[in-house]
Symmetry: none
Subunit: 194 residues, 4 copies
DNA sequence: CATGAATGAGAGTTCATTCAT
DNA sequence: GATGAATGAACTCTCATTCAT
């Protein structure tokens, strides 16, 4: 596959991403993607063979970019509390965003593809986030910023709350204030002065 | 509509429920329901006009029954901690259950039907559950069973954790131990002795 | 399936037969049959699910009718030689017929469906024809009409010659005179006076 | 066309032959051949314009080689009976061979290309074989090995039996014993002692 | 009320064929 | 000459929905 093909492949994935953002996963057909890309019916099949495959490739790209973002922000020179707040603010932005988010599509995809533990990207990301938060809390405790007796438990609790907010945002609607309220509640329990 | 019709209507809804449990919401076709009910294609249209409508009716029935269940267990004569534990155990059972649960179908349904606030059953149920838990905690605090400075915040936090566990169970898999761990974590923060 | 459906099913098979006669087996698509029958695309699928299935049903009908024909002619009151001649003449007519014959389609069908011995209709028909011819020759020998030391061998030989003529007619072309010549050659070896 | 082109042309034909052997004629697509040859889609079109054309060229090559084979074996120094037996044995080997035979593809090709008499290679080969057998029988009769009153009739009969066996092998299955039985039957009628 | 045959739109997929490089 | 990306027609199959009985 030449340079040109690689470009086109990327173009298709980027365009398909928009389609998934708009329609979720299940409703998207090869035809939808063909039309969004403005290529021929057969053309798409030169690159991908199913919406499922396309979606997984989109996710791969997405994950790479997200990882880069994470590592970028973590390098920042700041206190544990600052970084945690930054992380939570990032999550809030993500979960309130209606446009330009794959959240719903990802859920739908995992609904029908109960991937085995090893391959389950969601689980990997969840666990990885728990570890990062745990480290942050531990650092905060050492610094005297936080008070916490069960750092990993607290980290896990935070992540499940965030998951709960995320799915709630997609199904019952969640306002900016509601998210703030939950974040504040969690931080209050963590902060020393309290 | 005669007595007979009412019976048939109910029969269709009960059978359709099984189909939704099995396949989620989006993948279910009128044909699926017709075949599951073993009635004629045209027959189904006499009662319902789309899978969406059928699903909403199924949900209505479901909600009524769940409510009954709730009020039943709440009438039980027990301490606040007991009742809360009972409630959490019930939630655990529900979210670990792979078979016989509409969870996935409900999520899928709400993904594509972002119902306005007033009609959003999920939201109503969520808020109602928050209020019940809040009351329980308040009672517990009064009894000296619990210690809590922000009862409604705590209730909300609990519900979001449960939501997080629920969606996680559907997408990344959640074990009985994982649920217990989360429940325990929340209770520890609530109980006086700790 | 009601009376009407049975009629339509039969109508489809009869129409499909014409298509197979015209185009053989492999080239025929569901679309061809849909168009020949002037029914809707989906309509055909209510009755049959593939060209292969349709062809097999066409063959079933065909075989029934052919069997009836055979038994009809065999009941005739005549000498063995007469009947054998009648049979050969019938075969000749069949193999020279360009129009209205499934021969080519049958060959194509069996090319790609190497059916196991038990289900192979061609084999059954071949063996059954051998047995009939054998009986005729035996009767002829008893009557003094024929002379033959290996009746079953002779019967088999005849059938293979007929098969050879049949495939030759479809591939290299065979004239009426050529068929007569072969039939005559076989009969000469059989007849007493020779 | 340069030397290199001629080589490539030959390479394509040899590779295509394998494809036809495996899939018959009708089912073979240009894509199949392109993939088997591992050349570019466009590249194939520089040499050939359709599967039909390719198949005819494959047949040409095949015929040349077969002819060479024939003339080779005929040069052998042996009695007429020996040569005839050799020929029949060769035919038997050919018709029992499932692998590496174009038989089915050839039939399929001639089914849809009812070539005019002059161009019909099958007919030419058939007639030529008849003549060779006829000569052999005549020689055998002169030598006193065979007894036969109608040499050309007998030769033709033999060839039709062989054709019948060939198509039977492709459609209803034929065992080695069955072929032997037929060959034996024909030779018995020919041999003097019988 | 109930049936189930019929329709036709639409999705998936494959390939012959072309054409810019 | 050679490549292989691109196109678009053609085919298979499935359903929501209608309608005569």
């Amino acid at each position: 596959m030449g340079e040109k093909s690689i470009q086109k492949r990327k173009y298709i994935l980027e365009t398909a991403r928009k389609v998934f953002v708009e329609k979720g996963f299940k409703k998207v057909t090869m035809k939808d993607i063909v039309e969004a890309c403005d290529i021929s019916r057969g053309g798409l099949y030169l690159y991908f063979e199913s919406t499922s495959q396309i979606f997984q490739e989109v996710l791969k790209l997405e994950t790479q970019q997200t990882d880069d973002l994470f590592s970028g922000s973590i390098k920042a020179d700041a206190t544990a509390a600052d970084i945690l707040l930054l992380f939570l603010r990032e999550q809030k932005k993500e979960l309130l965003r209606k446009q330009d988010t794959l959240t719903q599509a990802i859920y739908e995809f995992y609904f029908e593809n109960q991937l085995p533990k090893r391959d389950n990207m969601l689980k990997k990301q969840f666990d990885s986030a728990v570890r990062i938060i745990e480290k942050l809390i531990e650092t905060g405790v050492e610094n005297g910023e936080f008070y916490c007796e069960d750092c990993v438990g607290c980290a896990r609790n935070m992540m499940f709350v965030l998951e709960g907010l995320k799915i709630s945002a997609q199904t019952m609607g969640v306002t900016s204030e509601m998210v703030d309220r939950e974040i504040l509640y969690m931080l209050k329990n963590l902060c020393v002065d309290e």
